[in-house]
């Protein structure tokens, strides 16, 4: 963005009185705001919901008719009559009533038994595998699958090419999935703290302070796609560059985000809770045409090693109510056809319960996809509880087949390029008119 347009943006932008009046650097994607009315409306948006800790797939999509299920879980099984029936052998957890409505309307896809070869039962490694799209049969990769998507867009692979676009995570941490060459995604927790404030008692002094602040935090080179190595490498100049990019991105986008959150409204009744709060912000940024296609939210607590039943019910209830409120909100604001929601967890849990009325780390589990433009219903094949490896179900669908479906069908970016090989795309997205 040239100095000129930057000034123009700040003076005509939503907030008007921008603080950083003399920046020669701004993340290029913010430049798009000016033209948002054009590109925003046809953009396809992906919202990732991460269920952290390892969601118990077998007590989420429940094979109640299978004797092996009942036998493996003497104290924590859920009886068929209590489930929300999907078929005469399969039912959803009773806390998922809202989602069942989506399912019945054909707007929720359940991909059964999703995993990857050589399942890793470490939270951290398995999470890394899901975030990077690698696995233990290949050399380790550390950049994220969405980070590579943004890099590819940067290289012009995406025909609609929003230059310099980055992912937005509503939370305190930056998901590894966003890590890319520039490593400058946005993590926003509290929009109100998302600004730098001068302290000068007069506006003139404040302006001088702002100017100096900008100078100290001005990334070298000024390029929009930062060639930084991606974070902290022990090399001081690179670390400094990373810090400066992070600061500038935050300050410039913070102004806009605050303005959008103020301007936009939520039109559905959301439950209380952190996931819900995050999704409320995402909905407002979407209806306000904030220029990114990828949002990331997370709900923690799924590591149910002990006394699982009550906790798991509470978690799933929160998940279901928050997501359905979000979809409802978008629908009321005529934005639902632009959004696909993808929910995953780093692994499922052991088939047999442990001695603490809980379950230990397992392997494959179902994934969930929501949206008005997806092909609802059951996808993939159900886990076979009579054919276990190390007490865990064997995966039938690779999670990268789901990523491929999203990349090819929704984000319109060749998945082979992003995932390093051709995983057979699942048929999850209806073609849009």
């Amino acid at each position: 963005m040239s100095l000129h347009t930057r000034r123009e943006f700040l003076s005509t932008g939503l907030k008007g009185a921008g603080l950083l009046a003399v920046s020669t650097f701004a993340p290029a994607f913010v430049a798009r705001t000016a033209a948002a009315t054009g590109a925003g409306r046809d953009a396809s948006i992906l919202v990732i919901v991460q269920l952290s800790g390892g969601n118990d797939g077998l007590n989420t999509v429940i094979p109640f008719a299978d004797d092996l299920y009942a036998k493996a879980r003497p104290t924590i099984r859920i009886a068929g009559r209590d489930t929300l029936k999907l078929s005469d052998s399969l039912g959803l957890h009773p806390s998922l009533a809202g989602m069942k409505g989506e399912y019945d309307a054909g707007r929720m896809a359940i991909v059964e038994n999703v995993g990857y070869p050589n399942p890793n039962r470490s939270h951290f490694r398995s999470m890394e595998i899901w975030h990077t799209g690698g696995d233990d049969t290949k050399p380790r990769v550390t950049d994220g699958w969405l980070g590579r998507y943004f890099d590819a867009k940067c290289d012009g692979l995406d025909p609609r090419n929003l230059p310099g676009e980055i992912g937005v995570s509503l939370g305190k941490v930056m998901p590894q999935a966003f890590r890319n060459r520039a490593n400058v995604g946005l993590a926003i927790n509290d929009p109100a703290t998302f600004q730098w404030n001068p302290s000068g008692e007069t506006s003139t002094l404040a302006k001088v302070q702002e100017k100096i602040f900008e100078k100290l935090n001005q990334p070298g080179g000024g390029g929009t796609m930062a060639p930084a190595s991606g974070g902290i490498s022990g090399n001081e100049p690179e670390t400094m560059d990373f810090l400066r990019h992070t600061a500038m991105n935050a300050v410039v986008s913070g102004d806009e985000i605050r303005a959008l959150l103020k301007q936009e409204k939520n039109r559905a009744k959301y439950p209380d809770g952190e996931l819900s709060s995050q999704l409320q912000m995402v909905a407002r940024l979407i209806t306000g045409d904030f220029p990114t296609r990828v949002y990331y939210v997370a709900q923690g607590g799924y590591d149910t090693h002990a006394d699982q039943l009550g906790n798991h019910a509470r978690l799933l209830g929160d998940f279901s109510q928050s997501v359905t409120a979000f979809l409802d909100d978008l629908r009321k604001q005529k934005a639902a056809d632009r959004v696909v929601v993808l929910a995953f967890s780093e692994f499922g849990r052991r088939v047999a319960e442990n001695g603490s009325r809980g379950t230990d780390h397992g392997a494959a589990a179902p994934m969930f996809v929501f949206g008005d433009t997806i092909k609802g219903g059951l996808h993939g094949t159900a886990p076979d509880l009579s054919d276990l490896v190390d007490g865990d179900v064997k995966h039938q669908t690779d999670f990268r087949q789901v990523y491929a479906a999203i990349l090819d069908g929704w984000l319109k970016t060749p998945s082979e390029k992003i995932l390093g090989q051709d995983f057979r795309s699942l048929d999850l997205i209806r073609s849009r008119g």
């Binding site: 946005l186 109100a192 302290s199 002094l205 670390t239 935050a250 959150l261 995050q278």
Partner: protein
């Protein structure tokens, strides 16, 4: 191993001493750095490493065992006729303990702040290592423990064993009540072993991932069955009837193993020495150390029987530690950032709500690690969110601005867009008391003529404590020459608003990327 050769004594400048203070402790004043430098390299390292251990420290009141034990409480509550009454009692107990754990956080932060190479009883390296072990053996108050006493017990164990040999530390860990509850081992029994603790014991606490099989996890989980606690007084209890005494085969050895055998075998693995060495180097010496450095240091560490004291003696005296590769390569943790700044100001801890709120939003809520992996540290401290919070924290320290955001942080984040902005927030009574002028006078730093550059460099030395990069020095000098109306007017200690302007300089120093590193 040239890199581990000692630094020539003459190179141990006050800047080098300041670097040592940041890494082996929580920073300090420039005066402390000068005093440390005067001891010479060996003397300074001795002072920091050969401290007298804080054994037998008394629990602060907030961390004493609850008057009513878990069992007595449960019996009393269960006898209540009404469910609402029962829930109310439980709520009261929960709130009491939440208040207590916050007091313990403050207690610990006060120790960080008081620690100094010249302090009689509170030693910088001891507290720094206690914090290191808290993150390494990360145990959280929330969900499972929810009592302050076992958390303090564990904290004191880490303190007493801060420089102990690693096998001794691991042995203490498998007997630590808070850890056994946190990772579900307390309820693990033969026939149905819970693998949570056994897995993390290797993956996160010792060998690192990739050096054991799933069978090893299962077998060590069997060996650890029966390692439980007496919930009445939060002490370790070995439950014979729950322990699986049969033969196990673990990492290539077989026997009727119990927990101590597991620790012995784990610490025999070269992978353990490497994993721990990498972590220690990364935290104390240089970010992301290469394998060519990790291997020889790990060999040294293991060959010495994991003598951590000797290792720090070597590292803190080494040329490596004072090399360009190591200096300014570490991102300050939120605790280090906050405590270091307060030390520089010689200020007290801000109001409890504010300092705890600030640390939480910067990503380091003591006793509430994000998960059992602890705080990843390094570049993970920094993202668009936390970096701005760090800069805002500087504004709070210097001008008392923005505490509202720290206070209301937990409430409905999505309303953020409608809240008052910082600019609308006026200075408030919670502001930290600090007079730069008084500090300069008492340090004898006031000379008849002080140029803008002198003033800028004075504060850079006090807070950044390194040779300032040219652009930073120029920028702060420029600001020192700008008065309230934006015009050019030199700063003078005679000015009535000198303190205000000086705080403005330090605010900018702390709003620089340079200040995030040490």
């Amino acid at each position: 191993m040239d890199l581990l050769a000692p630094l020539p004594a003459r190179d141990f400048s006050p800047y080098a001493a300041a670097h040592l203070l940041w890494r082996a402790g929580f920073g300090g004043t420039w005066k402390e750095a000068e005093e440390l430098a005067a001891l010479g390299l060996d003397g300074a390292v001795d002072r920091l490493v050969n401290y007298r251990r804080s054994t037998g420290l008394k629990a602060p009141p907030c961390a004493e065992p609850l008057k009513e034990s878990h069992r007595v409480f449960e019996e009393r509550v269960r006898a209540l006729p009404d469910e609402r009454e029962r829930e109310k009692e439980r709520q009261v107990r929960r709130e009491t303990e939440q208040r207590n754990i916050r007091e313990l956080q403050i207690w610990w932060l006060d120790r960080f702040l008081a620690s100094s190479p010249s302090h009689e009883t509170i030693h910088p390296l001891e507290e720094k290592l206690t914090l290191f072990w808290h993150s390494h053996f990360a145990t959280g108050f929330q969900d499972k423990i929810e009592e302050t006493h076992p958390i303090w017990q564990q904290n004191q164990t880490f303190r007493e064993l801060a420089l102990a040999a690693f096998p001794d530390q691991l042995r203490a860990l498998i007997h630590d009540p808070a850890m056994l509850v946190w990772l579900d081992n307390a309820a693990s029994h033969r026939g149905h072993p819970n693998e949570n603790f056994a897995r993390e014991l290797m993956e996160l606490f010792s060998t690192g991932v990739g050096h054991y099989s799933e069978t090893d996890v299962k077998e060590s989980a069997r060996a650890l069955t029966g390692y439980g606690i007496d919930r009445e007084n939060w002490t370790f209890a070995f439950r014979e009837d729950a322990h699986d005494p049969d033969e196990k085969s673990f990492l290539g050895q077989s026997g009727r193993f119990g927990g101590d055998d597991i620790v012995r075998i784990i610490t025999e693995q070269p992978a353990t020495a490497k994993f721990m060495t990498r972590k220690i180097l990364d935290a104390f010496v240089c970010t992301q150390p290469g394998e060519d450095l990790v291997e020889p240091v790990a060999d040294l560490y293991r060959a010495s029987g994991y003598d951590l004291k000797a290792l720090f003696h070597t590292l803190f005296r080494s040329q490596l530690f004072y090399s360009a590769q190591a200096m300014n390569s570490v991102v300050k943790s939120p605790v280090l950032l906050a405590i270091g700044a307060l030390k520089g100001m010689r200020a007290k801890l801000p109001a409890e709500e504010l300092i705890l709120g600030a640390l939480r939003v910067m990503g380091q809520n003591l006793f509430f690690p994000p998960d059992v992996n602890g705080w990843p540290g390094g570049g993970d401290w920094i993202n668009s969110n936390t970096l701005l919070v760090r800069y805002n924290f500087a504004n709070f320290l210097m001008h008392g601005v923005s505490p509202d955001e720290f206070k209301t942080f937990d409430r409905q984040v999505n309303r953020g867009g409608n809240r008052r902005t910082f600019l609308e927030t006026q200075r408030n009574p919670d502001a930290v008391d600090w007079s730069p002028k008084k500090q300069m006078m008492s340090d004898g730093a006031v000379r008849p003529v002080l140029s803008n550059k002198d003033i800028a460099n004075h504060f850079l030395r006090e807070f950044l404590q390194r040779e300032p990069p040219r652009d930073l020095s120029d920028a702060i000098t420029q600001l020192a020459g700008t008065d309230g109306s934006g015009g050019r007017r030199s700063m003078s200690v005679e000015d009535v608003n000198f303190d205000e302007r000086a705080r403005g300089l330090v605010h900018l120093i702390m709003s620089s990327p340079d200040y995030q590193l040490c």
